[in-house]
């Protein structure tokens, strides 16, 4: 237990003022090496820590601290870990998930927000933060009439700060692109990495699906949209280099599946893939147990594993160690390498979330698209 917390509860009867002072003086959760103590103050019948870490119980019970209105639970988090969590409060028969009231660090995602615990040794990479020195690229909204989907699709296009019409640029296509901008600071990362010459100036097509669980699950319409509609559109509208080696598909979770599936359906169209926490569920025999939304994914992945071909020459993969998908991601690496694909795989002490994907962008992008730092000697 955290020493300050132990000292507090060893007092015969800590006063509200003592507890107020303790709360005021400490940063929560309490990180002591690899021990992390979560604290809740308030009335409840029970309190649980919900952190969705594969390998830990989904709900860690808090203990009421005698003589106070505090509750606490301690878990062990290895050095460098970053986890997202909520508290589950039980009052009477009601259960409520809340953010940690004592912790201001919050991560957002399309479903809302979670509190964030930075364990000992984790620091947010400085290149994910706005840097006033970095010249800023620009975002432009475009529309594509899609026959594949019989609908108009809106995309965002990122142009680098030094964009010139008479240059040719590599093209990066990002699944869930708007989410990447909102929740994984993709624009800041692109601006910073470009300015620091760690990636080349690149044009980025950011796509967003209205029904990603269907369209990103190995859907041929989506592959057609990317290869037969988006690519020609980008070639016509922007000075993008017209070669597979200059094109990269990127996505996380189901977006990783969509990236792999598109490259597999259209070989020699994409030179590289950046796949983060891909939902690469498969079954060697029998049925999978991930629910019906994964049925098409498993069908595709089983077929892919049987006939992988060469979806791209270079693939960067990353996955959090605390994800249930870590097994599927790890097992895909040798499978791809066995087919001659150059693969780089990075694991992180994190889970299935946008900030994990944010923190891996530098290594992934700079490995797949090395910038001119190599050629610049100031």
């Amino acid at each position: 237990m955290n020493p300050a917390l132990r000292k507090l509860i060893r007092k015969p009867a800590p006063s509200p003022a003592d507890i107020d002072a303790f709360i005021r003086d400490m940063e929560f959760p309490l990180v002591d090496g690899t021990d992390v103590t979560f604290v809740f103050r308030g009335e409840a019948d029970a309190v649980y820590l919900r952190c969705w870490i594969s390998g830990l119980d989904t709900a860690q019970p808090f203990q009421p601290l005698k003589g106070t209105d505090l509750w606490a639970t301690t878990i062990e988090l290895p050095k460098g870990s970053r986890i997202e969590y909520k508290f589950e409060l039980v009052k009477d028969v009601h259960k409520e998930l809340i953010l940690d009231p004592l912790n201001d660090v919050v991560a957002h995602d399309p479903f809302g927000a979670n509190s964030v615990c930075h364990a000992f040794g984790y620091e947010r990479p400085e290149w994910t933060l706005h840097d006033s020195i970095s010249r800023q690229g620009s975002l432009h909204t475009r529309h594509i009439e899609s026959e594949a989907f019989s609908a108009t699709r809106e995309i965002q296009v990122y142009l680098p700060a030094t964009f010139r019409d008479n240059r040719r640029y590599p093209l990066l296509i990002v699944h869930d692109g708007v989410d990447y901008l909102k929740y994984a600071d993709l624009k800041i990362v692109l601006d910073n990495l470009t300015h620091r010459l760690e990636i080349p100036s690149v044009i980025v097509a950011l796509i967003q699906s209205p029904d990603r669980l269907k369209e990103y699950s190995g859907d041929d319409r989506h592959a057609r949209f990317i290869a037969e509609e988006l690519l020609p559109f980008m070639n016509d509208a922007y000075p993008v280099a017209d070669s597979a080696a200059s094109r990269c598909l990127m996505g996380a979770s189901f977006g990783g599946v969509a990236s792999l599936h598109t490259a597999w359906r259209y070989p020699e169209h994409f030179g590289s893939l950046l796949l983060q926490s891909g939902s690469f569920a498969f079954s060697d025999i029998g049925r999978h147990n991930r629910g019906p939304v994964f049925d098409p994914v498993v069908r595709f992945m089983n077929e892919f594993r049987e006939h992988p071909g060469t979806p791209a020459e270079r693939i960067f993969m990353s996955c959090g160690m605390y994800e249930s998908l870590i097994y599927e991601n790890r097992s895909l690496v040798p499978h791809l390498q066995g087919k001659g694909v150059e693969v780089r795989f990075e694991e992180a002490r994190d889970a299935h979330n946008w900030e994990n994907w944010r923190d891996r962008q530098r290594i992934g992008l700079s490995w797949l698209m090395p910038g001119p730092a190599w050629m610049v000697y100031d």
């Binding site: 008479n166 040719r168 530098r362 050629m375 610049v376 000697y377 100031d378």
Partner: protein, 314 residues
């Protein structure tokens, strides 16, 4: 200090330590108008106010980056031919890199093998000779690509390339001293070569830092051990201007080289031998008279055993 042969003043990066003014003052290069090549700064070419503040001499930027872009904009066939050459060079570099990786793995493994038997020594020598053979092959292939491009565009009056090159040559003839800045070395060597300036610099005094200094060597060696994606094996880009033969210049080793990795440094030194691999950290300088080193400060050279020692004039 003045001599019959032109002087070459080579400096490390001008950040964080600026030594351009002090080094120039003690170099013996006579005061007078200086032509500037800042093409390696690309869009920032000509932004030389900081340099002006340091030097008393009047400066004229030759603007070769801008002139090349204007030519490309006005002349699609030339631009297309240039792009095609760049694509070929990229492909050549990619294939070279692919082969180099395997040879470097093998060379490192032989150097790591413990023992000093004649068997091991012979394998080490052979592994390094294979590296050198690949480097030579790559240089030849790159030379052929340049040759094809140059024979296609030089002398073609439609390109107006010769006109611009002649005007630049005439402009340059009024200067005894040329200053070449650091920056993107690929852009720099391409622009110098495009206008044939590499043939006109031999008789000039040259002041150069970082990339500007590297292009003066006979081979341009790209290196960076500290990229975010990890270390990368040094690669030969192309021939340089050949004004300083048997020399490999390595600017900013503090930020770019794993200088304490004995095996890596030793392999670097052996691979490019008999050329001498010299580092140029910020604040350092080397002064050559023709090809003869006359003075140095804070520059170091790699050694066969993987350490560094100070560079001293003969």
């Amino acid at each position: 200090m003045t001599g019959k042969e032109p002087l070459r003043l080579l400096l490390g990066p001008q950040r964080p330590t600026v030594n351009l003014d002090r080094a120039l003052a003690r170099s013996g290069i006579a005061e007078g108008p200086i032509a500037v090549v800042s093409a390696a700064w690309q869009e920032a070419e000509g932004d030389i106010d900081d340099v002006r503040r340091l030097l008393k001499s009047p400066l004229t930027d030759l603007g070769i980056y801008r002139k090349a872009n204007e030519l490309f904009d006005a002349n699609k066939p030339l631009h297309d031919a240039y792009r095609l050459r760049q694509e070929s060079l990229k492909e050549q570099q990619r294939l070279y890199r692919m082969r180099l990786r395997q040879l470097m793995i093998a060379a490192r493994a032989t150097l790591r093998t413990e023992g000093e038997t004649t068997v091991i020594a012979a394998e080490r020598r052979h592994a390094i000779s294979q590296l050198r053979a690949l480097d030579r092959h790559h240089l030849r292939q790159v030379g052929k690509i340049h040759g094809r491009f140059e024979s296609a565009v030089n002398g073609d009056s439609n390109t107006h390339l010769d006109d611009v090159a002649a005007a630049l040559a005439e402009q340059l003839s009024h200067f005894e001293t040329v200053l070449i800045t650091g920056g993107n070395i690929v852009v720099l060597i391409n622009r110098l070569r495009l206008f044939g300036l590499h043939r006109l610099l031999r008789e000039k005094n040259i002041i150069a830092w970082s990339a500007g200094a590297m292009v003066l060597c006979d081979r341009i060696v790209l290196f960076h051990d500290k990229l975010p994606q990890g270390r990368r094996d040094a690669e030969i880009l192309s021939k340089g201007l050949g004004l300083l033969p048997r020399l490999v210049l390595l600017p900013n080793p503090t930020d770019r080289l794993r200088t304490r990795d004995l095996l890596r440094v030793s392999l670097f030194d052996r691979r490019f031998s008999p050329a001498i691999c010299m580092t140029l950290d910020s604040g350092s300088f080397l002064l050559f008279e023709g090809e003869t080193l006359r003075e140095s400060a804070a520059a170091k050279r790699m050694t066969r055993n993987g350490t560094f020692k100070p560079v001293r004039p003969a």
